[in-house]
Symmetry: C2
Subunit: 430 residues, 2 copies
């Protein structure tokens, strides 16, 4: 990874953040900064997302398996690889250290030799995003903020609401007016202040209006902005998923790791975790990354194959969490996939819904559509000969299906009610 090389070259330029030795490197121009830059690259503007660089030679001295093995089981165990000053400001709710299990029946159905599922629905607010929000709230406290905000209707929002509550920050969350009531309730229960934003008369969507208002409010009121599109630290939280897979599977690393892709920063984070664990000698080589996008929202896959700059696409998919029309972290995503010698694949909504049932019925895991898109992608990749049947594969199921069951309604129907007697049951069963 470039960030690794850069670290060594620019170590002397480091500035410290609360005692931390860190550089922030622009993914567009490559320029490095210290902690005096709060969000994106001053030279490149919003496109210039920063990447956190570490001093791996220093880290390697104390970051060893036998030491880490004795630590608490949450993302704080990777403290040397987090851009925060100690773990005391992370939420105490035990984020991360989600289980990996062997899904043998699912492996048979998908025709791969071994299939492991990492169930990110087992995080405190039931998605992968808890990892990012944990780092976000820790960083906010470290920088002296009392408020934190984001624009989201989904897992980023609920994870922020939960993490902020757990550490005692006030959270404000901007959502489009059309956000479904159950999702808003999941924010309100944690005490988040929810701002529902109407669609303006102009061409921009209600979500974009919510995003813009969030940005303005953070500037005006001095709130910390937890939006992955600009905040470099969040992907460091996501990275812990890759670190964990490497630690949990160490001697038995899969050949492929499958991750659904929306904005791009989830797969970028997982890939960065693997790159670091290889750099630090924990694993011999990185697994290949298979990035899976939904057909109606596949601009990163398109750019991955066609090259050039990203062209925004439609953002329509039943897999809402990855239905991103204009992903901001596409450079980091493509970089991570290429570095791993992996590839990308695109799946239809119908394939995602089938995968949701497959995962539940053969794997015992109920994932949200975006959470199981990886399984749909793996199925297609095996059929297409991209992933060989002899492969050992791990799929990251990124979020729980319990948050929004509307997708399930599209494929399943309530059975008819019967009288409470055996005759009626006989008829029902046969």
């Amino acid at each position: 990874m470039d960030s690794i090389k850069i670290t060594r070259e620019t170590h002397s330029k480091n500035k410290t953040i609360g005692g931390m030795n860190l550089n922030l490197r622009c993914v567009v121009c490559g320029k490095t900064y210290g902690n005096d830059v709060l969000y994106t690259c001053p030279a490149c503007g919003p496109e210039g997302i920063l990447d956190v660089c570490y001093d791996y030679e220093q880290i390697q001295k104390k970051f060893r398996p036998e030491i880490v093995a004795k630590r608490p089981q949450d993302i704080g165990r990777y403290q040397e690889l987090l851009p925060i000053n100690g773990t005391h400001q992370l939420p105490p709710t035990k984020i991360g250290w989600t289980p990996i299990f062997d899904a043998a029946k699912l492996a048979s159905a998908l025709s791969v030799a071994h299939l492991f599922v990492k169930d990110e629905g087992r995080n405190p607010t039931a998605s992968f995003k808890d990892r990012a929000s944990a780092v976000g709230v820790a960083k906010a406290q470290e920088l002296g903020f009392t408020d934190i905000a984001c624009a989201s209707t989904g897992n980023a929002a609920s994870s922020l609401a939960g993490a902020a509550a757990a550490v005692g920050l006030r959270s404000t969350i901007f959502v489009p007016e059309s956000a479904p009531e159950p999702k808003v309730m999941q924010l309100l229960i944690f005490g988040a202040r929810v701002v529902r934003v109407k669609k303006p008369a102009t061409e921009i969507t209600a979500y974009e209006a919510a995003y813009d208002l969030c940005t303005q409010a953070c500037e005006r009121y001095g709130w910390y902005n937890r939006n992955c599109a600009i905040n470099a630290y969040l992907v460091e939280g996501k990275k812990t998923c890759g670190l964990e897979i490497a630690e949990q599977m160490q001697t038995d690393m899969p050949d492929w790791v499958v991750v659904s892709v929306g904005d791009g920063c989830t797969i970028a984070g997982v890939g960065k975790g693997f790159a670091e664990m290889q750099r630090l000698g924990w694993i011999a080589q990185q697994p290949k990354l298979l990035g899976v996008q939904a057909e109606g929202a596949a601009p990163i896959a398109k750019t991955f194959f066609a090259g050039g700059e990203l062209v925004p696409a439609r953002g329509d998919s039943i897999a809402e969490s990855i239905a991103v029309s204009k992903p901001r972290n596409w450079r980091k995503a493509i970089h991570a996939i290429r570095e791993s010698n992996g590839t990308m694949i695109v799946v239809t909504d119908e394939e995602i819904l089938q995968a949701q049932q497959l995962a539940a019925r053969l794997g015992g895991v109920f994932g949200e559509p975006a959470g199981v898109a990886g399984i749909a992608g793996l199925k297609k990749a095996v059929a297409a000969g991209v992933v060989p049947s002899s492969a050992s594969v791990l799929v990251v199921v990124t979020g729980s299906g319990l948050k929004d069951i509307s997708a399930v309604r599209r494929t399943l129907m309530m059975p008819n009610a019967i009288e409470g007697e055996m005759k009626a049951l006989e008829r029902f069963l046969h």
Copy 2:
């Protein structure tokens, strides 16, 4: 615990279940049986719930902290204390080993010295019941069943659907016709066959009709019956929560452990786990159990204080999972609470809803109403002087709030939508 004494006295009478050395002892008449009894005591009928007894002297030889510490992190790590022949037939989905975390802000709000939360919503289907269903499906396979059934609308049902799917058993779940669609969808996604039963013209409820039809169907079709009211093995799965707390907190055991109480077998299981860990020398003494019932469904608390036989009560509470009018495991529950020198307390629905918000806003954990009833009970018990402010307390949050957000709707309202401009935001915030 009586079961411990009985084991040693009757060891010679043991019959083996798939190589296992087990007794089943009736909680009413005290008679012990081997594995030739499938459900309740033949002498006492449905009241005669059986309790599984183990040979603790034998177990103690190899069940030691340093050995167990190296085992996989799920309920299978307690294999010597489970009534199953090996762990290979448990679901692979990593049931149990849920995190315990220090909830300092909640402790302050509740005026106790230390408060720990054990978040059972972090199980595969997001509730404590996964522990019981895991043992249920393992036992079903061991006994040669291909089908398993239960009557439930709640966590028992979804946990059974998930666990059965994970091991490849067919599940049939009987629900009252009125069961809400989201809960039915959570069963269907796992491939469970859902039988919706109409309320009959007689006095019995639709749930009772579903329960009766389930019992008849199990007999007629040869399905294994996963109903805690008759199945002695399920509480052994629930017990693992107590075993885990003892292992996870070993040197720092809390003074009190708080559990919400419906049928009674959850607190009985947790208590049995503590009793066993004390018997085996892992902990010096058992924590006191605080059993919390909802005002509209508090027959066990009433019997706990008044003595005598249980009198069925109303079964009305917003905390549906504990809204049991005629609990079947009340003897085991009261026995466990008394053995621990604990007590019981009753809370209103309003107190439960307040506790739900408190847990989310100060603890960062979103529990279902029954899941957080323990927090309501603890608050009341501290105010009443039953639990001293100097106490160290652990509350088991038994299930996730994501499964059914209807309770949240009773206390929280959607905010009004605003225009996407700072002026509108200013007005909204102030």
